[in-house]
């Protein structure tokens, strides 16, 4: 038999990645994926592998990379614990629609089901949290399955896929031929849109007196930021964002009226229940956005722009459904709508903003009290970065504050764990974001709790020199849970107080420049110094211990019951 034209399954995996234009992957080696790592060694001039310090870190890094670059994030890990450690990141990518391809090694096919060393049923485990997954036991199947994996991950509503490859399939020889996947007969990634529905929508828009837009990540994933901007500028409709829609429209845009949801802005929440027409664009009516569904925009006609048919009428019954890709549907609609302005209606948002400013924002951004606030830290970051930075946030109070106050000039600049709310997301995601957008400033804003969930990724920063800027807002509490304990559990602070280590010493152990700020006078200059640094930098800011995030929609309440205090 002539094997001269044949390559190993492991080499085929690398060649597939190169065919898909992948030049950077994240991962962690181990027994069952060693043949692939051996090929990575040979191909290191074409394909960079970033060794994270934990497989979860690899998934979040791949997510950060994808969210800022629009490319598919790729992760490799070994079988057993390597594979199970991916699960949190996969679930996060699934709920936040992030395209990701995870490749796991698996025990040799003759050992499947024998409880072999480092064997887990990762296909079974990952099924509910992947868009698609597949196990390969023959080298010959590798090109077709990986081509399918990339196509599924990035098409339609993106998501994570997992391909599990047994070790014998990695060793086996095969003839390599690669054909990109362009369609799958049982899968329709982008549903056809209906001109009739778009016409109906245009009629509702043209006759609406108080129309209101809530946009989500669909606008960003669809690369439809310009189409969206043209649409709102023509119709003059005030627009608010969900947490994942943030940065899809510049913060300073006159029609950008802020954030909706549990800790969103006062006006957009209250006026959701006052508008006569609600346009939901690339968002999915998450419960953190809608509050109590029985009292959500009941007075309004609702138009929903959505690529995923399963999202239609899932949480909110809509009057007009515009299925399809917003990149195509928004321009069609823009053609049919009248040029308009809504000065009186927009004034309402401004007057609600004034109330919110007096009650909340003023003290957040320009506090008169001694303790430092999270808000003033974000304000200083805005000033130092001029709104051009990518802001990566973790989960909790700091996340809400950062999303509320961070300034964005460009899209794909806000990276956060929205749907799953994964603490520990930010540090590795920031590494991925910096590598996905190397010319941009990347600032990770993290709480002292979440920081310690993936703190080992400082090792990745140390090894790669990846110049991320890390700001830990330290209140020595798991702040969001503590806030709920204060408000709803009579201040019984069960396991939310944290006795923290010396973060500066830890950063220095990784050779990362570090500074601690405890006084307001030091804040501005320290943030400036951090932003100006060309190297990774760690800044710890001691903030007020028991501050609360407002406005807030208590769970079970309606959006219009949003509280300012």
């Amino acid at each position: 038999m002539n094997n001269s034209n044949k390559i190993s399954g492991a080499e085929a995996v690398i060649r597939c990645l190169l065919e898909e234009g992948v030049d950077l992957i994240y991962g962690y080696p181990g027994g069952a994926i060693m043949p692939i790592y051996d090929e990575l060694y040979k191909f290191q001039d074409q394909l960079i592998h970033i060794l994270t310090r934990h497989e979860q870190g690899a998934t979040h890094a791949a997510q950060g990379y994808s969210r800022v670059s629009g490319k598919v994030g790729v992760v490799t890990a070994t079988s057993g614990p390597g594979a199970t450690n991916l699960v949190t990141g996969i679930a996060d990518a699934q709920i936040d629609s992030t395209p990701m391809v995870c490749i796991t090694g698996q025990v040799a096919s003759h050992l499947l089901g024998s409880d072999a060393f480092q064997e887990t049923d990762i296909i079974g485990i990952s099924t509910p949290v992947t868009k698609w997954n597949c196990q390969i036991t023959k080298a010959a199947d590798i090109p077709e399955v990986l081509a399918k994996a990339f196509y599924i991950a990035k098409s339609g509503r993106p998501g994570p896929v997992l391909v599990d490859i047994t070790k014998d399939a990695q060793f086996e020889l095969m003839e390599f031929k690669y054909k990109k996947c362009k369609s799958i007969r049982s899968y329709k990634p982008v549903p056809n849109y209906s001109i009739r529905e778009i016409k109906k929508a245009s009629e509702l828009i043209n006759s609406a007196k108080k129309p209101f837009i809530v946009w989500g990540q669909g606008v960003i994933l669809g690369n439809a930021e310009n189409e969206f901007k043209n649409f709102i500028e023509k119709t003059g409709i005030p627009a608010a964002w969900t947490i994942l829609g943030l940065s899809g429209l510049p913060t300073d845009h006159p029609l950008n009226v802020g954030m909706v949801g549990m800790h969103g802005n006062y006006g957009p929440n209250v006026l959701t229940n006052e508008c006569d027409l609600l346009l939901a664009i690339g968002m999915r009516f998450d419960d953190r956005v809608t509050g109590n569904l029985d009292h959500y925009a009941k007075q309004a006609k609702i138009i929903h722009f959505e690529i995923d048919p399963a999202e239609l009428n899932k949480n909110v019954e809509v009057d007009v459904a515009i299925l399809g890709d917003v990149k195509q549907t928004i321009p069609e609609l823009t053609k049919l709508v009248d040029k308009k302005t809504h000065p009186k209606w927009i004034k309402k948002f401004h007057s609600f903003y004034k109330k919110e400013y007096e009650k909340v924002i003023k003290d957040d951004l320009n506090p008169s009290k001694k303790g430092l606030t999270m808000g003033e830290v974000i304000k200083e970051i805005n000033q130092a970065s001029k709104g051009d930075a990518i802001i990566v946030t973790d989960v909790g109070q700091h996340q809400m504050v950062a999303c509320r106050y961070a300034k964005f000039n460009k899209s794909k600049s806000n990276v956060t764990s929205g749907g799953l709310g994964t603490m520990g997301f930010a540090l590795p995601a920031a590494i991925g974001a910096k590598m996905g957008a190397p010319s941009r400033e990347v600032v990770a804003v993290i709480g002292d709790g979440g920081y310690q969930m993936t703190i080992q990724e400082l090792g990745t920063i140390f090894q790669t020199g990846c110049a991320v800027k890390i700001v830990v807002l330290n209140n020595e509490f798991l702040g969001m849970v503590r806030q709920w304990q204060q408000m709803f559990f009579d201040k019984r602070y069960a396991s939310t107080e944290m006795i923290n280590p010396d973060f500066i010493t830890i950063a220095k152990g990784y050779n990362i420049d570090a500074k601690k700020v405890t006084k307001r006078e030091e804040l501005k200059s320290s943030i400036k110094k951090m932003i100006n640094s060309k190297k990774p930098y760690f800044l710890e800011v001691k903030v007020e211990k028991e501050a609360n995030v407002f406005p807030m929609i208590p769970s079970g309440a309606s959006v219009s019951e949003v509280r300012l205090e």
Partner: protein, 177 residues
């Protein structure tokens, strides 16, 4: 709205793929819904498989579940029907001691009246098969129980819809050619 709990028969046409059963059952598991019966088989089209699943849920819920099922990559199409909209059957097997067949004259009448078939007779036992609605197989169960059932088993529901489901059309639309 009169949103009430109904029994629905789901017909799911799929590519044959390892793990798809897991993916579909996970959709019910996630929503804490009990699968009352599940059958998979070849469908009317070559290499296309068909799942028939019976669940009792609210109508508002079944609509969302169907969309979640259709969202799975290897699912070609999914439908839900009420009992009125389908023709459906189950098959039950009853294993009884042969002695009863000869000693108890009555048992032969039961078999005849219920239009059941005797599948096999051996010196020790005989096996009766009954295909029909749940009430019919249950009635036979109740009748035979006093004579000592050695074994009893009932299949999942199989069903065909009264209205066409047009799978070939759907496939035709989705193929490149």
């Amino acid at each position: 709205m009169n949103d009430k709990i109904n029994t629905y028969t789901l017909s799911i046409y799929t590519e044959n793929n390892i793990g798809l059963l897991n993916r579909i059952s996970a959709i019910f598991l996630k929503r804490h819904i009990n699968i009352e019966s599940l059958t998979t088989s070849q469908s009317e089209i070559d290499n296309i498989f068909r799942f028939v699943i019976v669940v009792s849920v609210l109508e508002s819920k079944i609509k969302r579940i169907i969309k979640q099922i259709e969202k799975q990559i290897e699912v070609i199409a999914a439908f839900y029907h009420t009992d009125k909209e389908t023709i459906f059957l189950e098959t039950a097997l009853y294993k009884v001691k042969s002695k009863s067949l000869f000693d108890e004259k009555h048992i032969q009448k039961i078999i005849k009246d219920s239009q059941a078939n005797i599948v096999t007779v051996s010196p020790n036992y005989f096996v009766i098969e009954k295909t029909g609605w749940r009430e019919e197989t249950e009635k036979l169960y109740v009748s035979l129980e006093p004579y000592g059932l050695l074994q009893f088993v009932r299949s999942g529901r199989i069903s065909v819809s009264k209205k066409p489901m047009n799978i070939s059309n759907i496939l035709g639309l989705n193929t490149e050619k």
